[in-house]
Homo-oligomer: 458 residues x 4
């Protein structure tokens, strides 16, 4: 990765002059958890070269460690906090909500915590949703079910002025916004609008993307759970394919821009023969196209399992359908498209197939978090509260190199995380599937174009 330097400096609302009530210590050896200092940083860059001398570390190149500080910005008894969940469902939403509420209430003694219903729309007057007062009792068991107890919706984040109005009217001091890329871009604009009005309100994001496509953070919450559930669908496809004459199991998995779920699932299950992801273009027709390789596989092994990420092969689809409420480009349905193309192809060559198409999307998104995700969500939530209490703002909580850190929203929403087609993850996936490295007919031309495209992007 040849990243340009990022500015990781975190903004704050002002100096921290309130003594934290959470009763940790700064003494080593007293068995009391320690406060984190604002001087604790983590390097972002891990790569190193022998004999290299590294110049003086600038703050802007280092990541601030998350965690409770000895001095905080807000007086807990004055705090009114709000929580909102935006975008599609993702395993672990309730775990995060629960952690936020419990940490605010038990650790800091905050008693006014307000749940915003159904995403940003819960702050827009025309919907008329009432807010939901949150207490530890109310959230006690919510992590055992999927979904979001607050409700969620797409979009609305661009109506910055109205949302800032609502936040001001509610007299909030801190807003926790759980949502993806688009949502966090909205968060930033809202924070800027608030700042413009001279209000001291922390805006802290908890990044949510089941696709795991946020850059900088090592893994997004809910991702592990998604892979667990996706592996069940691939197992089903495998069973169907194995039990039929020329059985084909086609599973469409989430992954609008990045094929992480598809790739991980294929490695975990070892039952997919083809994985199609957005990062690796492919052609359908011709002697080196996907359909031909699939035919080949069927002739040799009589069954095949294909995993396709929803964002794969978008260049193959003509029609497009605008954008959804979150402003995301609507993808044409590659799953249905592939299904129909395969049916047509094998009909055209007179080969009988048994094609089963599985689209488990909502069953994955709505699942309760697996324990590993629950732990992650709990810790994200706690650290988000610690950050907000210190008046830090316009940041998200992330896990980088296994450390919880503060990341500026501006930096995080700047680029996406992709499966590197030449990296070790995709290499291990190809080993698991035995599929061809590239399914294109004129490889030379393809690589030339690919290079040009990537230049044009920069």
């Amino acid at each position: 990765m040849s990243d340009a330097p990022y500015d990781f400096t975190i903004e704050t609302l002002g100096p921290c002059k309130v003594k934290s009530p959470i009763q940790l210590s700064n003494v080593e050896g007293d068995f009391i958890a320690n406060y984190v200092s604002d001087d604790d940083y983590v390097r972002y860059r891990l790569d190193a070269y022998i004999d290299q001398v590294v110049g003086p570390c600038k703050q802007s190149e280092l990541l601030e460690k998350a965690g409770p500080r000895e001095n905080i910005f807000f007086n807990p008894s004055h705090v009114h906090a709000a929580i909102v969940t935006c975008g599609g469902l993702c395993p672990g939403l309730n775990d995060v909500i629960r952690a936020l509420v419990r940490c605010l209430w038990h650790r800091y003694g905050v008693r006014r915590i307000t749940g915003i219903r159904f995403g940003f729309k819960g702050l827009l007057p025309e919907y008329g949703f009432e807010t939901l007062p949150l207490t530890p009792e109310l959230v006690d068991d919510c992590h055992k079910t999927g979904g979001s107890i607050l409700g969620t919706s797409r979009g609305g984040g661009d109506r910055v002025v109205e949302i800032a109005d609502a936040i001001e009217k509610l007299n909030l001091n801190m807003v926790f916004i759980i949502g993806g890329d688009g949502t966090q871009r909205g968060s930033l604009e809202i924070a800027e609008e608030i700042e413009k009005r001279g209000l001291k309100i922390s805006v802290v994001g908890i990044p949510k993307t089941v696709d795991n496509d946020l850059s900088f953070i090592q893994k997004s919450f809910g991702f592990d759970t998604a892979v667990v559930k996706a592996a069940e669908s691939v197992a089903a496809a495998h069973m169907e394919a194995h039990s039929q004459i020329n059985g084909i199991g086609l599973v469409k998995l989430m992954g609008r821009e990045s094929g992480f779920i598809a790739t991980h699932t294929a490695i975990a299950s070892h039952e997919a023969n083809f994985v199609l992801i957005p990062e690796v273009p492919f052609e359908l027709d011709g002697p080196k196209g996907f359909l031909h390789y699939l035919e080949d596989r069927l002739r040799k092994r009589h069954h095949a399992v294909i995993v396709v990420a929803e964002g794969a092969g978008q260049d193959l689809l003509e029609g497009e359908g605008g954008t959804d409420d979150s402003g995301n480009k609507k993808l044409a349905d590659i799953g249905v498209f592939l299904r129909d193309k395969m049916a047509a192809y094998f009909k055209s060559i007179g080969m009988h197939i048994n094609l089963k198409y599985i689209d488990p999307s909502y069953q994955i998104r709505s699942a309760p978090a697996a324990p590993i995700d629950s732990i992650y969500c709990e810790r994200l939530g706690n650290n988000a509260v610690h950050a907000a209490m210190c008046g830090k703002t316009k940041l998200i909580i992330g896990l980088v190199h296994n450390k919880f850190v503060h990341l500026p929203i501006k930096v995080v929403t700047h680029k996406r995380n992709y499966v590197d087609p030449e990296g070790s993850l995709w290499r291990d996936c190809l080993d698991a599937t035995s599929q061809p490295i590239l399914m294109v007919n004129d490889k030379e031309a393809f690589l030339r174009n690919s290079l040009n495209r990537s230049k044009a992007k920069k």
Copy 2:
């Protein structure tokens, strides 16, 4: 952590002069996975201070990246590889075996792969176990079941000469040893004995500890699966405790030296009220002892769930029972001890309790790997093969800062990984349980002793 500097240099059997057959590339943009260079390093230390100048990086302070090299040491057609699994069961053993076999066979074309039965004992003549020839067909579905298809056993790793004899007799070029702390110490001695004999044999370890107590590596395989299963036991204990008059659910979890499973499980499930781990001593009796706090909880809430790591409170137990076959100190059974102490205490104060004791150990250890662990095992196995083919030896494959790296066995077995009682993990666990920070009567004296103990250790 104030670690002394470690020497991370990896030993090799000699220069790599064979062209790798795995057909990766060094070209960026050709969609072909790249070789890893021996000059690719990862920093071990992440902590950073502003304006700090870092002197020239020495190789010994950097971690070598794992992965396939362009040039390798062994000629694949001459390779005879062996795989052995040692110690107790751990979810993912079969996944690692499977990855080793498939990578050797499909990537490098190695055709002689031998499974050693039942740990190091499979190499000792008096047991008379035959070896098991391994092929991709044989291991194809083995990852779907728990256990080890090779069988495993404790101990035997100290019989260095006989094991080296057996390895020599089998004409092996590389030995993959999957096992824990004690096992890897044995691996090192075996590798040294082999070296003394002038043999060119790679010894590569894959670290296995369900307790997650190996230092340097960020997480051991099987750990996530263990937490998933352990959380089921805590849920059962919670149900029992809730449904009875003064119901107490006591769950003993694995964790001889480190309480990671107990701590993670408590955070994941949020249903434990007390977590007892080796890292945090506690007293049973007296007004600030565990039993009193438990009584308190029962009087207020009428039920309680306790999670105890098997290595917790060992100072409270008199009798000890020597060592097991692996040379590990045998722990007295804290679960049964606590159960009996609680029963006696509440009888003595005339309080009726309903105590249910759950010890899920084998149900956890024998579980098949959860998908996340399957992926991890697959990648560990692949990287172990790449290292061995390059003639690297006396190393284990580890995951550090989310990168697969080579770690010298000598360094890894040097110290253990502990839950830091003053770190964020334990802090989040205390938040999840609401238990007292310390359950000791004379805190001053305790802390003085604790300080002395920790000084004495150094």
Copy 3:
């Protein structure tokens, strides 16, 4: 139900003159399992009226008990048995295959057991499938995975002469046919063709219908597993619906003619608000149509979960698509139809909804059997072998009043099993959903028509 009397007499190939090798006993109290006598019958009719005198029981009105007989028809050392699985996947197929093989092999000493590949097509020359010799080793772990290790396909059962030719050519003495309604009708014709040729070949069916729509038998294998899996989909739909503004979760479940899966799933999960099954017609439009009731529910509760059996509301769909390979009428897709109708309706009234459509079909059909189904399959298989060894033919093994019995194929395929809209199962389902009893506008007219239709059927 006012059933006409059925003739339950079982046909046999001839007198049983061979002493069974299975070494059971006829002595009570010797702890050795007892043979079943051909005089052991079970009443089919359970209804009783006080003071009613029941005339002499005719054999034709009684059900013959399944189980091992002291004397059998075939000499086990001469037996060549074949097993074939037909139609769609169903949890438990492999369990049945496994039980057949093990009982033939271990209990009776049969050594020639042949698996027919991919349904009846495996017996048709143009497909050219080789048969698969079956042994206990080969089937040992097959019950742990879903699907059918033999493969399956639809149709072909009407090519009676060719199939009989193939059976004759293979020198089979007994054929075990695992399949549904249509398959068993084929089995009967094949058995008759065989009989016409003067061959002594037992044809024994194991009834397979995941829909549970075979009459006489109390439950078909795989049904319980299907409900377990279906309940997971309903839970997902519920989570999605709850977490969205006017969230609607629509789940299509299997059930071509009968709504058993939908009904049981709704009672089990208690999360469905509407269950639509083939047995209870409904209208979409009008003030008492489904859409109006759904709108009502949304206005009051803001979310709704709908479970629809695939055969529901077929009268509402215009286009039809002929028949599938099994000769089953192809159903138009009620799930997609309803989804589109709902979208159009709520658009037309300007009400924003969030509709998530879940079709878990293949994930249900391909699941491995839950333990309860495994037990059932095991016992079906054993009893099928016992029946075939006695030369009984043209029968299926069924569970009636919790007893395993022999049922003539002719009788079983004569009618289907339906959810009785006025019985206790549907009553309990309505209690679980709180949906209206009938969603039709002109109830009087509807009931008149309904009455006429049911008259016409008779």
Copy 4:
């Protein structure tokens, strides 16, 4: 079975003169569920002989069908109902509570429903437990968790006068008692005490026994769930045994008097090599004792899995420990006993074994109900309410020949249900394990004694 005739007549509090509010119908063809008539009966005896003439059916020999009646005894608006759960946990308790509350509230309009806390102890003054008012809201999601939301305890059912006092004081009209054998015997005595006082109070039992040892009913709720969970433990034992040198997995399952769970689990999993149940005595020592057969198995196959029901082999254990709070004889622990005996035996013959003992008891009892059990519980609860509303009393709701019926408590508690060692279930279990039919040394003497014992019983 040569049962003496039972009197199945159900007692009632008086004539039913109140029109039921539940709005069913008696018209066939109107799509409205039908009332059940008091003249609807089901035969208990299914066995039939050809040409047998059956004399006039007496009411006392027939089972009354459960379900809603057109006329009921109680005026719903006057009803005060109570629910109590007794004895150990069992999957499905909350499902039954939920169904009772919902049917009372929604179907009949009853508004006073009281939960008794912690079993009969909740009615005894010295415990001072407050009652819990129950509403549909409160029970809405309770079926998703295991345990009992009311709490449960053993014993207390013999304190008939005090319990009747408490019932009288609460002004109850109907009491639903969920509990086992001992509990229902208590229910009967309580009902008789109430009757003696001239009070019109329905006492309706819902039989609960995870062991499935209640006679007459075909299966108790929670049993299927128990088998599902038990199969997981056997799978773990199998993995451990397979992966060790002379690995032995020993699993203790529930089953005080009857081995149904052990037997079903062994058939479902096919991984047990020995199943030991109370119904089939065995000897440990000698050439035909269990230990010898086990040694044999280890010498041949090197691993073994043993499933033992807690009530098995009680004659082998000397010490006994009185009775528990429910008045059940306390069993000595056969699991620990066997574990120690095996260890000693193999030590004595110098054979190294690896023995893993798994006791999953509470993890099974506390599990939430599997969907099939949820359905069963729902229907048991509904039918219990229908019975109570009609003033029927001293009965339990049972499932017999797949019909829900009323059974007099007196009859049901009269004998237990056992695994018949000569029946088809045990036969299929022996086929699954391949264990010897009898593990006794002097078979002749054993059978003589066995015969005498069984005579003495009669």
